[in-house]
């Protein structure tokens, strides 16, 4: 029983990471219809920026976080120009291929710039442990679910109660009608990409103390984030949050009880099953796609 709780806690830490990455992806997909393969590179570059600032320049964590935010905004702006502005009115594969090209560019730049050897962020928080009953987590890992809940709540409130949020939701529902009602489509696109890059960059920064950072970490994380996006229903933020936590927990339990080798596969198997049986996702509602 105690072990089960520990597995659940580990699953929630990993799941929170998936949520942060997947919510950005689902926003970009739901609002703009862009499938962004380079999303994992936002995560990777967020992690590297934080690492370099803390380790090489000795900056405090909050300053490094500010650096990560700046880099993420730049990446989001660039990606929007490339994948959305330039490729408007194209079919599904165009954005996939272009974002794949962008991912190759960013990954290889990181390889040339930072080298292939893995790095890990060590801070003074790494050694502080927190015990909650039978569950033990280092303070740094505990920060991840906390940050996730805070960020996703803010995002939810913004989407729900501000005009910017309303225009984002309007775009997701029907781009043409939203435009006729006076939504500034280009501005919405830029904001969506920036928010998406920010969330992924922060996730990478937070996880750089848990897992090793190397130039190709983005590959697996983006694929997993896609599974979360599908499970949660494309474009559904709350669904992605639930599905991300679920994936983290399922992975943790699979690796504990069924074998570590199955850990990474389980999500993809679930995705194929879900798409066959419930194409709108676990938490999605059916509606007509035009």
């Amino acid at each position: 029983m105690d072990l089960l709780l520990q597995y659940l806690a580990n699953g929630i830490v990993n799941g929170s990471n998936y949520v942060l990455v997947a919510v950005g992806l689902t926003l970009v997909f739901g609002i703009l219809g862009v499938v962004n393969f380079a999303h994992g590179e936002f995560y990777m570059l967020g992690a590297y920026t934080g690492l370099i600032l803390v380790i090489n320049y000795g900056l405090p964590i909050w300053a490094a976080l500010a650096g990560v935010l700046v880099v993420a905004v730049i990446l989001g702006l660039g990606a929007e120009g490339l994948l959305n502005k330039m490729l408007k009115e194209r079919d599904a594969t165009s954005s996939i291929i272009a974002s794949f090209g962008l991912a190759v560019v960013l990954q290889n730049s990181a390889l040339i710039g930072f080298g292939p050897s893995p790095m890990l962020m060590q801070t003074k928080y790494s050694t502080i442990g927190v015990e909650m009953g039978p569950v033990y987590l280092p303070l740094q890992q505990l920060l991840i679910p906390v940050a996730m809940v805070a960020l996703i709540s803010v995002l939810y409130l913004v989407l729900r109660y501000t005009w910017t949020g309303r225009s984002l939701r309007a775009m997701a529902q029907h781009a043409v009608v939203a435009r006729m009602c006076g939504v500034r489509v280009q501005r919405v696109a830029v904001i969506t990409f920036i928010v998406s890059a920010l969330l992924a960059g922060i996730a990478g920064f937070l996880m750089s103390s848990v897992y090793m950072v190397y130039p190709i970490i983005g590959n697996m994380i983006v694929l997993k984030a896609f599974t979360v996006v599908i499970l949660g229903g494309m474009g559904n933020v709350a669904g992605a949050a639930a599905a991300g936590l679920l994936l983290g927990i399922v992975e943790s339990l699979t690796s504990a009880y069924l074998g570590n080798g199955l850990r990474d596969i389980v999500g993809f198997v679930i995705v194929i099953a879900v798409l066959l049986l419930r194409p709108q996702g676990l938490f999605g509602r059916t509606f007509q796609r035009s």
Binding site: V35, A92, I96, F100, L102, V104, V105, G261, L275
Partner: protein, 317 residues
């Protein structure tokens, strides 16, 4: 007829390359291009002609290669058994992937094929007892070829493999061309252009899509077996989602749905990054930039652009 003649000359020229150039660099580069020609031509059947997006060509490539590797380890069979076996097994896997494709379209289909691709890759990495994991598997060279007991020649080393793969490529490209022009191929095109209309006039859309998936996978399987026997060792990292994306990119940049476009795309994306010389360190970087530029500036691909230019010229004349 003129077109056929020029193609025959092209093939003869390609066959003569090992005699004309020094060293192995150009021959091995051409060999790699030929393998990609088989892969993209296969993908073009399902995407270009039947309209179903697939990002799983790399997985089928891997399934073909591992069929050769696992059969030679467990059953001690040779290349001539592996080639048909690899094509049949990948064909069956193609059928398996084709079933969800019947219900899904666009982004959703693309993502299911991506999930399939990832499952296959992870399976190759994790199922160590069956696939050898990250260490991979050794594969024997094709070796002696004999007919009715008489020894003809030995296929070993770069040159012989090059000619073998060139022969296979020509045969498979001709098969693909015949397929597309057959009744089945026309059904694919009909389903691509308007599925509802195709069903309304009595075509079996289910059959069309499934056969397209099977054919496309079988091509990749053949490429996998050929490459496995040439390389002598197979490892999962040669069959990732990035290979699939590269194949899709080659097809799109060349021009999907045209027959020779994807072959041009292969040439462009393999040769240009090789021309960097001292800048070879930045090869992959350059490849990515090329990809983005090609998609942004030439959405219809090289073949589509040529077709368009020709059409405007005729309209003016």
């Amino acid at each position: 007829m003129k077109k056929n003649l020029s193609l025959v000359i092209l093939v003869l020229l390609l066959a003569a390359v090992p005699f004309l150039v020094q060293g192995s660099y150009i021959v091995s580069l051409l060999l790699l291009m030929l393998v990609y020609v088989i892969l993209t031509t296969g993908l073009n059947l399902v995407t270009g002609f039947c309209g179903q997006f697939s990002f799983a060509q790399g997985a089928f490539f891997g399934i073909g290669a591992y069929t050769a590797g696992i059969m030679s380890r467990d059953l001690h069979t040779g290349f001539w058994v592996h080639l048909p076996a690899g094509m049949i097994i990948t064909g069956l896997c193609g059928l398996l992937l084709g079933i969800p494709a019947l219900r899904l379209k666009g982004h959703f289909l693309a993502i299911v094929t991506i999930a399939f691709q990832t499952i296959v890759y992870l399976g190759l990495v994790q199922w160590t007892s069956f696939t050898g994991g990250q260490n991979g598997l050794p594969v024997e060279p094709v070796g002696d070829v004999s007919l009715f007991g008489a020894h003809l020649f030995t296929i070993d080393g770069l040159r012989a493999n090059y000619w073998l793969i060139l022969t296979a490529t020509v045969v498979l490209v001709v098969i693909a061309e015949r397929l597309v022009k057959s009744r089945l191929g026309r059904e694919w095109v009909a389903v691509r252009d308007d599925e509802v209309l195709a069903s309304a006039i009595g075509l079996n859309a289910t059959r069309a899509k499934l056969t397209a998936f099977v054919a496309s996978a079988a091509f990749a399987g053949a490429a996998g077996v050929l490459m496995a026997h040439y390389m002598g060792n197979i490892a999962p990292d040669d069959y990732t989602i990035w290979i699939s994306c590269t194949i899709v990119a080659m097809m799109i940049i060349g021009g999907k749905g045209s027959f020779y476009g994807p072959i041009l795309g292969v040439a462009l994306l393999t040769l240009l990054p090789e021309m960097l010389g001292d800048w070879a360190r930045y090869r992959m970087l350059f490849f990515g930039v090329l990809l983005v530029l090609a998609i942004a500036l030439m959405p219809e691909g090289i073949a589509g652009r040529v077709r368009k230019l020709r059409a405007t010229k005729e309209a003016q004349a």
